[in-house]
């Protein structure tokens, strides 16, 4: 979010402001650990996310909100899952609180939210519709959800197999969300580090799937999905005939709300062409 995903953070913060809610970065935070530890008898791998929840608890007194919003799908997944665990399992909570004797005890009162659900539940898509300055004029958009945002069911923000939350948002912006079979397909995640072929194969499948339904834009919610699709696009340039623009969904939002100055110039030009109908 601070390096590769900078575009995502920048546009998300600006869009929030334009829609009338303010987001403040936690004063102190650490990496969430990226993967939720599945070993049921070990809480050690929950230390990192739990510490973030404690830092959020400390900060909540200053900023007067218990809502912790994330942009990254994986941060959301890990923080939400650990938060649920600590709310439901007093033994795990006590163990972690005892281990972290350098921090105040976590009380289990933080709400972990994803930015998309704030837009849907707190702002309301209808209110966003009223603020749209540039209609997308039916441009076809493929929404890519990946895994962590919607799975498993008890932490996901929408139906795990057929999520529509981003599609609904695209519709509000005047775009045409397309239905394609790979919207919750895994992007290959960390295989990109040591087995880039996996990423290429995955990305081709997902991107080609979207292109087959004439998508001109693919939007994502996760910096790693975005990175992998971008890498895949680079590697598969020869195999893919049509062009597609890869964006964070907040960039598309920023464009619609008239915040073009926050988006890369070339992207704005291409989007403008698409909306005009000569893309």
């Amino acid at each position: 979010m601070k390096t590769y995903g900078e575009r995502y953070e920048k546009t998300a913060l600006a869009v929030a402001k334009a829609l009338g809610f303010e987001m403040v970065e936690l004063k102190r935070w650490n990496c969430c650990g990226v993967v939720f530890g599945l070993a049921e008898d070990s809480v050690f791998h929950h230390i990192a996310p739990a510490r973030n929840l404690i830092r959020a608890q400390e900060f909540s007194r200053e900023v007067k909100t218990k809502n912790l919003v994330t942009l990254c799908s994986m941060c959301y997944h890990v923080l939400k899952r650990v938060n649920n665990l600590l709310k439901e399992d007093p033994e795990a909570l006590e163990k972690l609180n005892k281990f972290m004797d350098d921090e105040e005890d976590y009380l289990g009162e933080i709400n972990v939210l994803h930015y998309l659900t704030v837009l849907r539940d707190d702002i309301g898509f209808q209110k966003i519709a009223e603020k749209v300055k540039k209609q997308l004029n039916g441009v076809k958009v493929a929404c890519y959800y990946g895994c962590m945002l919607v799975k498993p069911r008890d932490t996901g923000i929408d139906d795990p197999e057929d999520p529509t939350i981003m599609d609904d948002l695209v519709e509000v912006l005047g775009g045409e969300p397309i239905d394609y079979p790979f919207k919750t397909e895994c992007c290959g995640a960390y295989h990109v580090v040591n087995n880039a072929e996996v990423i290429k194969e995955r990305a081709i499948k997902i991107i080609q799937g979207a292109l087959n339904r004439e998508a001109k834009i693919i939007v994502t919610t996760c910096p790693l999905c975005h990175y992998n699709l971008e890498k895949g696009l680079e590697m598969a340039r020869k195999e893919l005939k049509e062009k597609v623009i890869l964006l964070y969904f907040t960039e598309l939002l920023a464009f619609s709300l008239g915040l073009e100055n926050l988006i890369e110039k070339e992207i704005v030009e291409e989007l403008t062409k698409l909306v005009r109908g000569d893309g």
Binding site: M1, K2, T3, R28, W29, N30, C31, G33, F44, H45, I47, A48, R51, M100, D102, E103
Partner: protein, 235 residues
């Protein structure tokens, strides 16, 4: 005067019991660990330096009576306590990679490529708890992971490279070498260049202060002592 009377007249020295590498000693209370070690007869030729909490050489590990915690500190800055169980660590072994600062960029990914174990941080915060300089060690590691070299450099400015954090870290990060790299990157690529220094250096090279410098070089110990004692700082 009889010997007992002399002993009775002297105020009785309060002592505490400490264990050095498992051996029991009675030492006067109020000493630092370093002085207590010398009091019982250790001659320290390694693992001791400035004696003032600045050099980071006298890394020490100890436990206290009826306390499960493992404590760490600098021997020259920590006062002994009754029942203290301790050992000094004369040297902290650590991998010290060689790099060419001219060929690096001030980015988190560059630091990670030299110290890949950084990404093993599980945020347990043991490093922070162990730091005698009260540096937010883990937070600094996290800043590096998200690419904020400048912030990490500022946060670790007080690091004295005692190595305690690196001995305690379950991810086996060598924090003090990492932080040194971070500060070098900051100094070389991010910090504002001080113009006056450049100008002074140029002036020096051009021969300004030549007379004063020559006087210093040829002056000899007597002059140096006199100049040292009359430094402005002493006034």
């Amino acid at each position: 005067m009889a010997e007992e009377q002399v002993a009775a007249k002297q105020p009785k020295m309060k002592t505490v019991t400490i264990y050095v590498m498992g051996k029991k000693y009675e030492v006067p209370e109020g000493l630092t660990i370093l002085k207590a070690l010398e009091y019982v007869g250790y001659r320290l030729i390694r693992g001791v330096g400035c004696r003032a909490g600045f050099c980071g050489a006298c890394t020490t590990v100890y436990r206290l009576k009826d306390d499960y915690k493992l404590y760490t500190g600098l021997a020259c800055q920590t006062t002994i306590k009754d029942g203290m169980y301790l050992v000094m660590i004369p040297f902290v072994p650590a991998k010290k990679p060689i790099y060419d600062i001219e060929k690096l960029r001030p980015e988190g990914s560059v630091v990670i490529s030299i110290f890949p174990e950084l990404t093993r941080c599980v945020s347990c915060n043991t490093c922070t708890k162990s730091c005698p300089q009260e540096i937010q060690v883990m937070d600094a590691v996290q800043e590096i992971l998200r690419g904020n070299i400048e912030k990490a450099a500022h946060m670790t400015f007080d690091c004295i490279a005692c190595g305690i954090c690196s001995m305690r870290c379950p991810a086996e990060i060598v924090h003090y070498h990492v932080f040194q790299l971070v500060r070098r990157l900051y100094g070389k690529y991010i910090a504002k260049k001080s113009k006056h220094l450049e100008e002074k250096l140029k002036a020096l090279e051009a021969g300004a202060f030549k007379e004063e410098l020559d006087k210093l070089v040829t002056g000899g110990p007597e002059l140096w002592k006199k100049l040292y004692e009359s430094r402005e700082i002493e006034k």
